[in-house]
Amino acid sequence: MANKVRLGFVPLVDCAIPVVARAMGFAQQENIDLELVREMSWAAIRDKLSFGMFEAAHLLAGIPIAARLGLGGLPVQNIVVPMALGRGGNAITVSTQLYQRMLEADPNAMLGPRGRSARALKKVIDEDKAEGRPILSFATVFPFSSHNYELRYWMAAAGIDPDMDVNIGVIAPPRMFDSLRNGWVDGYCVGEPWNQRAVFHGDGVIVALKDDIWSRSPEKVLGLREDWAQSNPELVSALVRALVRAAEWADQPGNRVELAHILSEEANVGAPFEVLKASLSGKPVLRPGEPPIDLPDRHVFYRYTATFPWLSQGRWIGEQMKRWRQIPQDTDLKAVIPDVFRPDLYRTAVAGLDVLVPQDDWRIEGAADAPDRSLVGMDQFLDDTIFKAEF
């Protein structure tokens, strides 16, 4: 008898790992009957995981940390993270109108590094203030999402106060695109395919990619209920192995077209094949009607330790929660993060396999000359920050 595991996911490109684990037989090889359940909201996934409707979930990295701290109006939920689900493919997209205004306000900033394009936004905001116009509205997908922290990081580095100078709301990913089209928001930070789709429709322009902000910022993770993980250690290992194998498959450039086909199915992401292919082939289009740019690392599922649950990445999310006053300043993240992010479970699962694992569970993030650069890939913050938080 195969072991049944119900896994909830949100239709985004980075649901690829669980989808591939089922579609390409990696789950079956581990004797797992992986049932995938498509959900349209992060709150619904979190609750169904917490209250036992799912054993596993595709989660924003911030959700299990927030759950452990009892944030978000819910009593404390103990969710553990045995692995990450790739590096995601976030981007910041603005409406074509706002893009035009940014271009006019500061053409140099728009030509320079994309990580610094918010300098043009700052000028637009200053103009609006001087004219007494209402503030601009932006959206992210969840209060504890990397999107929220990346958008705020990008803004703050250009001198914008994300709490006062703009309005940042929350919209579930599948609804983002319509909100921009209808003019309800002026811009957003979301995962693919929702940026690429706005560009293909001529409704939006991508002004910064995740890699432009911080390529190693943690994105989606595998979340398991702690009590379930404790009572099913072998199944947890088997599930992690199946998902790591799936990540390896999804990462091969030669498999990306097939992956775009699989994800375009209505039961998975359900977005047009062309949109998914552009993004997955590392040839995203940033502005409507323009040729794609070459970006082979646009989607990373496996290489650069993209499935390893680094403590230092979890810590960064926690520090962003502090920065934006979502949690008290004295929260002991050094103690909390290792309860949630569990590299030990990852190491146990892949022991004996030819999977590259780092020597330590944490590292200094953002150092351009780090000795493990070939293992972890590009690692730079848009403002050259070095993030050092020891464990």
Binding site: A43, G72, G169
Partner: protein, 196 residues
């Protein structure tokens, strides 16, 4: 002490029929201040304007992610809101999740005052599900009957059988093949459609 009718209850649902059923249940139980809204892009502003004490929303509604924002201590809302989870009652949590109900309440409301409202919503969601199932079944039955009528018509016209004999033929084949009569009727229709 807040009287029943003084609770401001907001029902958020994309399905207007279900929202109406929930609203009626609450009103009949003595909660008179019930408002309902569907999907809207300015949800936070609308909630602020309505100032509900309790929000009932289906568990899978994508608007929930927007509501989660209101948990943050923010300038968006004057009164902190939290998701209602009665931890002393595991069976209620299970019932709510399987019925697809979630509830948000303003800080400081007593659990025992909220529980009957959430229980009412759960029972109404279940009633709605039951109604929908019955309607789907009735629709399926009607479709089956239509198929049988069409197959009978084809047999009468093409094979010169009487209405009773046509039906008897369908039934005989159904019994022989251990299938439903409407399935045989569907095969008859398909077979004759192929010929033309």
């Amino acid at each position: 002490m807040v009287k029943l009718e003084e609770f401001n209850i907001l029902v958020i649902d994309e399905n207007p029929d279900r929202a109406a059923i929930v609203e009626r249940g609450l009103v009949e139980s003595g909660y008179t201040r019930v408002a309902r809204i569907g999907t809207s892009h300015n949800l936070v502003e609308r909630i602020q304007a309505l100032a509900p004490d309790i929000i009932i929303i289906d568990l899978e509604n994508p608007d929930r992610d927007t509501l989660e924002q209101m948990f943050q201590v923010s300038r968006a809302i004057a009164r902190p809101i939290a998701m209602f989870v009665d931890q002393s009652d595991a069976s209620m949590i299970h019932e709510a999740v399987s019925a697809g109900v979630s509830a948000y309440v303003v800080d400081g409301l007593r659990q025992d005052r909220i529980r009957p409202i959430v229980e009412m919503a759960i029972s109404r969601f279940n009633v709605f599900d039951q109604l929908r199932r019955e309607r789907d079944e009735a629709q399926a039955k009607l479709n089956e009957r239509k198929l049988i009528e069409r197959a009978k018509g084809i047999l009468m016209k093409e094979k010169g059988l009487s209405e009773e004999d046509s039906y008897a033929l369908l039934r005989k084949n159904a019994m022989k093949q251990n299938r439903k009569i409407y399935e045989i009727a569907q095969s008859v229709i398909t077979a004759f459609q192929l010929e033309f």
